[in-house]
Structure formats: C-alpha cells, structure tokens
C-alpha cells in the first residue's frame, strides 16, 4: 500500500522535556489513522511537526512525498488542518471565512467559488452562508473548520482532537461527517484522547503514551492482542488465585491490574466463567468481585501502559476549559 505519511524515528523536546521520544509510523493513502493517547502524550507535538508548524528537530518525516524540513511549502500545499483550538474569526461571515482560506492558499477565483458552494453543502451550512461565524453553534463552527480544511482538496486532512469540548450528539454528527469526507477520498490523520472516537472512526490506531508509540493496528487487532475476552477479578489471595487460573488451557495470561487480576482468555468467557468460579471456591479462594467483558481500547491502553486512558487528571480538565474560554 502507498504511504502518504512516513515518519521515522521522530524526536522532539521542549528544553529538558522530551515530548516525542522516537516514534515511527506510516499512514496509508485513503485510510483514517488515529493517534490515541492521554493529554501530554505527544499527539499535538507530532501533528504540529507533520504540518510544519513546529520545526523538525530529529528524525525523518515525509508528507505526500515531501520532506517537512526541506519542502515546507509543498507540504503546506498538500494538507488541510483542523486545529485543536478553535481557529475562526467570529466577525467574518461563513462565506468570507472560506473565501479568505481559498485565497491564502492561492486557489483561482472560479475554482474557489465553486468549491465554497460544495463545502457549504457538505458541512450543511448553506442556510448560514451570510451569517457571522460568532452566531453559529459549536457544532456548526467545527463543521465549518473541517470544511475549510477540505476546501483546497488536500491529500491529507489533519484533525487535532476534532470533537474536544463538544456534546455527545454533536460529536456523533461530526464523526458521520468525517466518515463521509473519508469515503470521498481524503486520507485523515486524527488525534484524540476519546477511545470511542478512535474506535468508531479509524482504519488503524496507534496508541501513544509518554512520547512513544505503544502499539499500532486496527481496532480489532489491538483488542485481540490482549485476548478474546477479559475477566477482572478482585480477591484477597491474589497469588493463589493466579496460580489456579493459570492452569486452565483457556487462559492466555494473568496479570496484576490496578485492583486485582486481569485474566485474558483464548475462549468464550461466558462459558468459562462459571467453571472458574467453582474451581476457585473449591480451593478456598474468596472472590470479592468478578466481571467479564469484551476488551475495549481502554483495556488495551491499560494493558500496555498500566494506566487508564480516562485517568486524565487535572491537565485534561485544563485543556477542556481553555477551549471553552476561547469561544
């Protein structure tokens, strides 16, 4: 398959702090590729380097065949960007916003005007053409930003946390919209810290944490890599329990998790669970709680990093607040 983005051994640091610590990946033409990771993992730094907004310190990066260090202008011509923070002039109309964008990208007038009509239709903003941007809802503004990113027919569209701070309904509409854009042939590079977003949209996902790629694959591959089904079990006697569980042929692995044991299975957990409980009780291991679930990307993240993705801490809140204040 053709790689439209090639990244090899990318490093980036701000002073002493290493934000990106040697990552390599490829994005194939036509796919939706996601970077999934908590805030501070290095997602935005990576996207800023790929889009030439940050200088390349170390590593090799090619976008649409162009070197981001030497062929900045070509890279810029090849891509569309939707920034994490809202980037809109509230005092311009929807039409002027698109017209401005088309002009600074040097689109000829006829093509520009035609493309604006198409974009308004795609973003479902035809009724709002003459409306000032500040009077649009949050979802409309986001759709406008995405439409603007697409206006110049980029080879790759970069979306940095496209649904940050939006309500679930609006988020769902934006997802549908991104899928539509992708079906029409645009390769999409997306960063997100929402597991559902990466799961429902992406062709392939890289999980990124502390500036490193932990694992890359399709959502199915990532989930299967930690087992068909997962059992979370809490008990006082972890050691003995893990010994017993490990003796079953259906069990692929047993790990210590935050509150108890994480058991990954090769087989159907629904049939296995009763047998497991019986045999644990027979050996005198007291079970405080037990649950069976299909692995999610959250579990995948937990499995590989030992931390929960949802555990954002205060930093996550700060980012969300900054975005709201910016409106």
């Amino acid at each position: 398959m053709n790689a439209i983005i090639e990244v090899e051994d990318l490093h980036h640091s701000y002073g002493d702090f290493t934000a990106v610590n040697g990552i390599s990946f490829r994005v194939h033409t036509g796919e939706i590729f996601s970077f999934l990771g908590p805030n501070g993992a290095g997602k935005s730094t990576t996207i800023n380097i790929l889009t030439t907004l940050l200088p390349l310190q170390r590593g090799r990066v090619r976008v649409n065949g162009y070197d981001v260090r030497k062929e900045k202008k070509r890279v810029r011509e090849s891509i569309g960007i939707v920034f994490q923070d809202e980037v809109l002039d509230g005092d311009l109309t929807v039409w002027e916003t698109l017209e401005f964008h088309g002009r600074i990208y040097g689109m000829p007038r006829a093509e520009r005007r035609e493309r604006i009509e198409e974009m308004l239709k795609l973003a479902d903003l035809e009724e709002k053409t003459e409306e000032r941007v500040k009077y649009l809802s949050g979802g409309m503004r986001r759709r406008l930003e995405i439409a603007r990113g697409l206006m110049t027919r980029p080879a790759v569209l970069f979306l940095d946390e496209p649904t940050l701070g939006l309500d679930p309904q609006t988020r769902y509409r934006i997802w549908k919209y991104i899928e539509k854009v992708n079906r029409e042939g645009t390769t999409i590079f997306l960063t997100t810290h929402y597991m559902e977003e990466a799961d429902s949209l992406s062709s392939r996902i890289s999980i990124i944490d502390h500036g490193k790629i932990v694992i890359t694959g399709t959502s199915e591959e990532l989930k299967n890599s930690i087992g068909k089904d997962l059992i979370y079990l809490e008990t006082v006697n972890k050691e003995k329990a893990s010994q017993i569980i490990g003796s079953f042929s259906e069990v692929r692995g047993v790990r210590d998790s935050l509150r108890g044991l994480e058991v990954s299975l090769e087989a159907d957990g629904q049939r296995f669970l009763p047998r497991l409980i019986v045999s644990l009780e027979k050996e005198g291991v007291e079970i405080t709680s037990i649950s069976l679930k299909k692995p999610t990307l959250d579990d995948v993240f937990l499995h590989y990093t030992g931390r929960e993705l949802r555990d954002e801490g205060p930093q996550g809140k700060k980012v969300a607040m900054r975005r709201r204040r910016g409106r």
Binding site: G40, L53, P55, Q84, D85, D89, L92, Y105
Partner: protein, 283 residues
C-alpha cells in the same frame, strides 16, 4: 505574482468597516482634535503672536493652519503605531496559525496589514484636510489646481512612507509579544515622546538642546516638515518663527523617512521569518 497580501488586506478592511464604533472613533477623533484643541489653542496663540515683530509686508500663518499639518502627522503616527495590534487579535483567535500554516509567504501578512494601515491613515489625512478647510485652515492658499494636485500627492507620499515605517515597527513588536497590555504599554510609551518632541504643535526652535537633539532624529519632525512644505509653502512665518524649506530639505526628509521604514521593515521581516506558531500550542 503571489497576491496573498491582498487577501490579508481585504480581510482587515472588512473588519475596519464592520466594527462601527471603531470606524466611527477612528474617523471622528482627528476631527475632534481639530475642532477642540485646534480652535482652542489657536485663539490663544494667535493673540500672543500678534506681539511678535515680523518683517514688513509678511503675514504670519495662523495657528490653526500651522497645527493642522501637525494633527495629520499625529493621527498618522497613532494609527500606524496601533495598526499592528490587529495581529494580536489574529494570534489570539488563531487566524495567525491558519495563515502561517498556509503556503502563503509569511511576509505577505506584514504587507497586507501594512497596506490596510496606510489606507486608514490616508483616509484620516483626507478627512482632516477637508474638515480643516471647512473651519478655516488655509492650506494650499494661492495654489493653482495643478499645484494643489501635486501637493496632495506629495502629502500622500509622505504620509504613506512614514506610516509604513511605524506599521512595520508596530507589527514587529506585536508579533513578539503575547498580551494586549504589553503592546498597548509599549505603544503608549512611544507616542508621548515622539509626539511632544516633534514640531507638530509648536516650533522646535525654542527647545533646549537635548530636546532639540531628540527632535532631529524623530521621524515625526520630518513628516510634519513634508506636509507643511506641500500644504503651506516653502517660505512662511508661524508662531514667530521663520520657516524656509528648500526642495533638498524635503527630499532629505523623505530620504530619512524611507531609511526609517527600511530599518523597521528589516526588524519586522526577521520577526515574521522566525515566527513559529507551534510553540506553546497544544500539548
């Protein structure tokens, strides 16, 4: 030719027209200066200058006419110094990032903003002259139609070159700073000494030598000189001072302003080339 700067200009002019209170104050402020400060001061100064002995047969230019040139210069200075501030809004709302991420050459942002600043300054200059003539400013007295045209053109050139110099400076400073307070502080700090050490409101001939020295390197002095040459003439008396300008003085003044503009352009150019929008954004 890449015309992206015209796009930046187009957007800035839309904003100029759209904010009615801003538009109103930009246009009315210089007129208020003329109406209140101008008339108030001239009624006093003209009384004093009656006592100054002039060579026989020569009539002094009245104060209102003398200071009208100064008000044009002052307005141009204010508008230009604060002209770069729109870049701060662009930075705050992220439009700067949109522009810097586009294939457009970065210097076009500077050109576009400067072009719109010059446009505003020229509109204001035209307004002050029109209003001034209405309330009794004796610009272009005894000029033929052709001479008036040449004078208008001359004034426009001086205003443009001077305005560009301070727009570049303002844009460069604004690009380096993050806060509105910082930018406004610096600009306010600059306007006071520039304005009062120039010959905009009074002759510099009576200054103590240190203030005189400042006025010599003050670009505003040269703008005022240019405007007075074209609007009043090459030889006149005002406020008890004899003014004579040769064409060389005028060309020298324009040269000074051009060099000033080139230097500030260099400063702004370096700043824009270094601008790195990715720093401090995201995680």
């Amino acid at each position: 030719m890449n015309t992206a700067f015209l796009t930046v200009y187009w957007r800035d002019m839309i904003r100029f027209r759209r904010f009615k209170p801003m538009l109103f104050s930009t246009l009315v402020q210089p007129i208020l200066w003329m109406a209140f400060f101008g008339i108030g001061m001239s009624s006093n100064f003209d009384r004093f200058s009656q006592f100054v002995k002039l060579p026989p047969g020569i009539e002094s230019v009245d104060y209102l006419t003398f200071m009208a040139a100064g008000v044009i210069a002052m307005t141009t200075l204010f508008t230009s110094l604060f002209g770069g501030i729109s870049l701060l809004f662009d930075k705050r709302w992220g439009i700067m990032k949109e522009m810097l991420a586009s294939p457009m050459p970065r210097t076009h942002i500077l050109w576009g903003i400067s072009l719109s600043g010059v446009t505003k300054a020229l509109i204001q200059a035209a307004l002050i002259m029109s209003f001034g003539l209405l309330i009794g400013v004796k610009f272009f007295s005894g000029y033929s139609a052709v001479e008036v045209l040449i004078s208008l053109l001359g004034i426009a050139i001086f205003v443009t070159v001077f305005s560009l110099g301070f727009l570049f400076l303002s844009a460069g400073i604004t690009m380096r700073l993050e806060s509105m307070e910082g930018v406004q502080g610096i600009m306010t700090l600059l306007t006071m000494p520039l304005f009062f050490s120039s010959s905009a409101l009074y002759p510099v001939e009576g200054f103590p030598s240190w203030l005189r020295a400042i006025s010599v390197v003050n670009p505003l002095t040269y703008l005022v000189k240019g405007i007075r040459y074209f609007a009043i003439g090459e030889d006149f008396f005002a406020m008890g001072t004899h003014y004579t300008y040769s064409i060389y003085d005028v060309l020298l003044s324009l040269g000074f302003l051009t060099i000033f503009a080139l230097l500030t352009y260099l400063f702004a150019w370096v700043t824009f080339r270094r601008a790195c929008p990715g720093e401090g954004f995201g995680d």
